[in-house]
Symmetry: C2
Subunit: 320 residues, 2 copies
């Protein structure tokens, strides 16, 4: 047991700015690497949880081009949800990037935002599938997840797309539901741009998606806030280790929060500037904010229910 | 009873874009005017819930100058929390505004962010009280609320400030706690800039403040998101009417959300594009987002627990 031994409720202890903590090898501990693929680890089963996909939602891409390029280059598949394609095209043109390089594989959604100009541009390349899915029983967010699942799990999905004759209402979901779920062998590691930092109800809707998919072993999601450079993800109930190697994140200004956005929970941590034990967290009580990592390789958190973590990236994205 | 009569769970009905709904006169209904003081109502007890204060927190003020001027002109008292004063001074100078006009009455906080230059500038005017409060048992957010309470409830607080000899740790709180709470007769209506839209843990910490103060009859708070023009506030458990007069808000693009950021709740509405009945809302279930007002004077919401509402202001701030 790595945590502080005390029965005192809401115990807080301040640590030095560097504490030696190796990445655990105990397989019962859930290891999360939130900085992948910003920092690209060796691709093996232990370190990368699945095929990393980039999904661009309909919100202005407010990133340094070099950060965007890193996200693009280090992902296997890029998908635009509806008007996200407008945002991608604007970003590429405004920053003078190579238009032939930054082509998504799919554009999917109910297409209430995609402009004719964007649509025609991407169709003219002959390399992008544009698929309307009108159903209002799923969001564009969900539709992007579905197309990523099918891309990696349905044989020759991209090449044979036209022969599948999927309907324009909810053909993608119908195809996915027709598959034996045991066939899904490729877990997805999904990075979203535009899920956080716009209108507040959309931000909270995105956070709801994290909780709804919390028990899905084949799907891990992270949100990249482009309005304030940070990464946001869910930490499941249980014992977790969040990898933040000092070689990458040696800056106390990488502030982070451990947020009780669904049920209240009790939390223990090891490796933060302000470690806690028996810490009762809820929206009407304690909310752990403005903390930071001091573990040489990251920190532990043990929590009785799912929580959401955000980590400030402003001070590291100049270096990696 | 104005709500849809049905026992069906999670019932949703689509309305026309204009439904005639007067502001209720039944005193058991809690009437909220979220657009005050952007739209300045006649100042009488029925319409303005208390003295309106503007608090500037330490986040870049990303507003059109004319919107900022409106907020400033329509509030009684302006307070900067710590580095919020740096942000105010930068904003005033960058936009060429009148430096002598935009002086806060108080700057308060632990002063870990206030620069010497800003401090000296405001002190040199002879019109601003700069008060360090080092205690880490309250946030700068709380300290700003305390100074506003004292300003309106302690006789001659501003003029006699120096004679009070308040200590630099938590003198303000000590003074407030020494008062008979029955003496507080002036309720506060507080508008915060910089509480929402920056780092996500700070946004959620601010939302927690809404819930913590939900039962405080002498304090109403609204957050003005300056990163995405919108207003965010708490709607208490019970039957509420949110005033959004069509004359001011005749735009379906004023999207809004009704958000379950603490406990799950059951909700009924009347006057929204998509009215609901027996609607179970939670972070792992339904989250009402991307809805909008169609009531001629606003909409009703009846909810079994507190919820948080955000209203997009992008499409009205050009007109008011």
């Amino acid at each position: 047991m790595v945590f502080i031994k005390t029965t005192e409720p809401n115990f807080v202890a301040e640590n030095a700015d560097l504490v030696d903590i190796p990445v655990p090898t105990d397989p019962s501990i859930n290891v999360i690497r939130p900085l992948h693929p910003i920092i690209r680890y060796q691709i093996d089963d232990n370190k990368v949880p699945g095929k990393t996909c980039l999904v661009i939602l309909n919100q202005k891409i407010n990133l340094f081009p070099r950060v965007f390029e890193k996200l693009w280059d280090n992902t296997y598949l890029r998908v635009c949800a509806d008007g996200g394609a407008n945002q991608l095209l604007s970003f590429v043109r405004e920053n003078g990037l190579d238009e032939q390089k930054y082509l998504p594989k799919y554009i999917v959604g109910d297409m209430d935002s995609l402009t004719e100009e964007t649509k025609n541009y991407y169709l003219s390349t002959g390399k992008v599938i544009v698929k309307t899915q009108s159903s209002q029983y799923a969001t564009d967010f969900d539709k992007a997840i579905t197309v990523c699942f099918l891309h990696f799990n349905y044989p020759n999905f991209f090449n044979d797309f036209d022969t599948l004759n999927l309907d324009d209402n909810n053909g993608l979901t119908t195809l996915k539901n027709s598959l034996d779920t045991k066939e899904f062998t490729v877990p997805l590691d999904m990075i979203f741009l535009g899920a956080i930092g716009g209108r507040f109800d959309q931000t909270i809707h995105s956070i709801g998606e994290l909780y709804k998919h919390a028990s899905d072993n084949l799907l891990q999601m992270r949100f990249f806030n482009t309005e304030y450079l940070e990464i946001i993800f869910l930490v499941p109930k249980g014992t977790n280790f969040i990898v933040l190697e000092k070689q990458h994140v040696d800056d106390p200004l990488c502030y982070l929060g451990l947020l009780p956005l669904n049920n209240p929970f009790i939390m223990h941590t090891k490796g933060l500037k302000y470690d806690v034990a028996n810490y009762a967290s809820s929206m009407t009580g304690n909310i752990s904010s403005s903390n930071y990592n001091v573990g040489s390789n990251g920190f532990y958190v043990q929590n009785t229910d799912h929580l959401v973590v955000n980590i400030d990236l402003n001070h590291i994205l100049g270096e990696v």
